[in-house]
């Protein structure tokens, strides 16, 4: 017999994402899923972001890595509640992995939860974690051609953050071309150049977080 199933392969994962989304909305927690290739500076960005926002907001972090607690330790050193997920080879975080870790946070008291995804510009793009926003970090040394080379990631994210702009004088990276390429792939996406290391233009990023915190969670 033939069964016309017509089901999304990621049905269970997407159900878990909807479950997470409801929890985040009920507890009024802004959740931002941060993706990039390895070495783009996600953890350094989070350290700088936490330092800038910790006095106003209670922040939590979920750190995804294949192995080690190294990134989690960097954020714990700043006094942030951080839970590490080791995927032991897995190339992305999915909504069920996040759901399992949520009981380790006091969500009612957490204003902002950052999820640092596995360093990879392909696989994490397909997994909804229930977040409010997906942000992709592209660092200057990687080159601006990563935007046209990995269009699906840049298509599926709400913001492209260009990190390490302090290196612009030393390596070829065309900011104008990057912005144009992003526009042709995802015209609604925001485009913000920053340096998490020097703090240059970081106020635009943290200002955006403050803004969406109030607009997304307004009753």
């Amino acid at each position: 017999m033939e069964i016309n199933l017509k089901e999304e392969v990621l049905k269970d994962q997407n159900k878990a994402a909807a479950f997470n989304r409801k929890l985040f909305q009920d507890s009024r927690t802004l959740v931002i899923n941060i993706m990039s290739s390895p070495g783009a500076g996600k953890t350094t960005l989070l350290e700088a972001t936490v330092k800038a926002l910790a006095r106003e907001y209670k922040i939590g972090v979920i750190e995804g890595d294949l192995a080690t607690e190294r990134d989690a330790d960097r954020l714990r050193a700043l006094g942030v509640d951080t839970v590490q997920i080791n995927t032991v080879g897995g190339c992305h975080l999915d909504a069920r992995m996040i759901a399992k870790k949520l009981p380790e946070f006091d969500l009612e008291k957490t204003d902002i939860l950052f999820i640092e995804n596995i360093g990879n510009l392909v696989c994490p793009s397909g997994y909804d974690l229930g977040q409010h926003f997906k942000v992709v970090v592209l660092s200057v040394p990687e080159g601006n051609d990563k935007i046209p080379k990995y269009p699906i990631m840049f298509r599926r994210t709400d913001m492209t953050l260009i990190n390490k702009i302090d290196l612009l004088p030393y390596v070829p990276f065309n900011l104008v071309e990057a912005a144009e390429d992003l526009k042709s792939i995802n015209p609604e996406a925001l485009f913000k150049p920053v340096s998490a290391l020097t703090g240059d233009r970081m106020g635009e990023w943290t200002g955006w977080i403050r803004e969406v915190y109030h607009t997304c969670l307004a009753r």
Partner: protein
């Protein structure tokens, strides 16, 4: 690559549905893979061959995975031109503006499968 975990999801989805219907053998699965779904059909087939023997009695070497490609298509919101986008997914080749929406290409779905129950139906 994530095709191994996607295939594990796909097999779970079909196995659970087959179990509910009393199907004991699955002979063929039709899956739709969009050109912009970030799923590689070749890697998906490799993962299927790797995982197939690990699924109890429901699957065997004859169980076939049939991948149906879904072409990416976009339509311009201003001039309504329909086209197959290149990497500039939102870019209309006629207006030359990023004003297009995707009509297809992101699907990753089990369309149907064939199997039989204990009575051979």
């Amino acid at each position: 690559m994530h095709e191994l975990s996607l295939m594990a999801e796909l097999i779970k989805l079909v196995s659970e549905d087959a179990h509910d219907r009393g199907i004991i053998k699955v002979s063929k699965i039709d899956v739709i893979v969009g050109d912009l779904s970030n799923v590689l059909p070749e890697a998906l087939e490799e993962a299927f061959i790797y995982l197939r023997p690990r699924v109890e009695a429901l699957f065997d070497e004859q169980t076939e995975l049939h991948v149906i490609r879904e072409e990416a298509r976009a339509a311009c919101r201003s001039c309504r031109t329909e086209f197959v986008p290149d990497y500039r997914i939102a870019f209309c080749p006629v207006c030359r503006l990023p004003t297009s929406e995707l009509l297809s290409g992101e699907t990753f779905r089990v369309e149907s499968y064939e199997g039989c129950d204990e009575d051979g139906n």
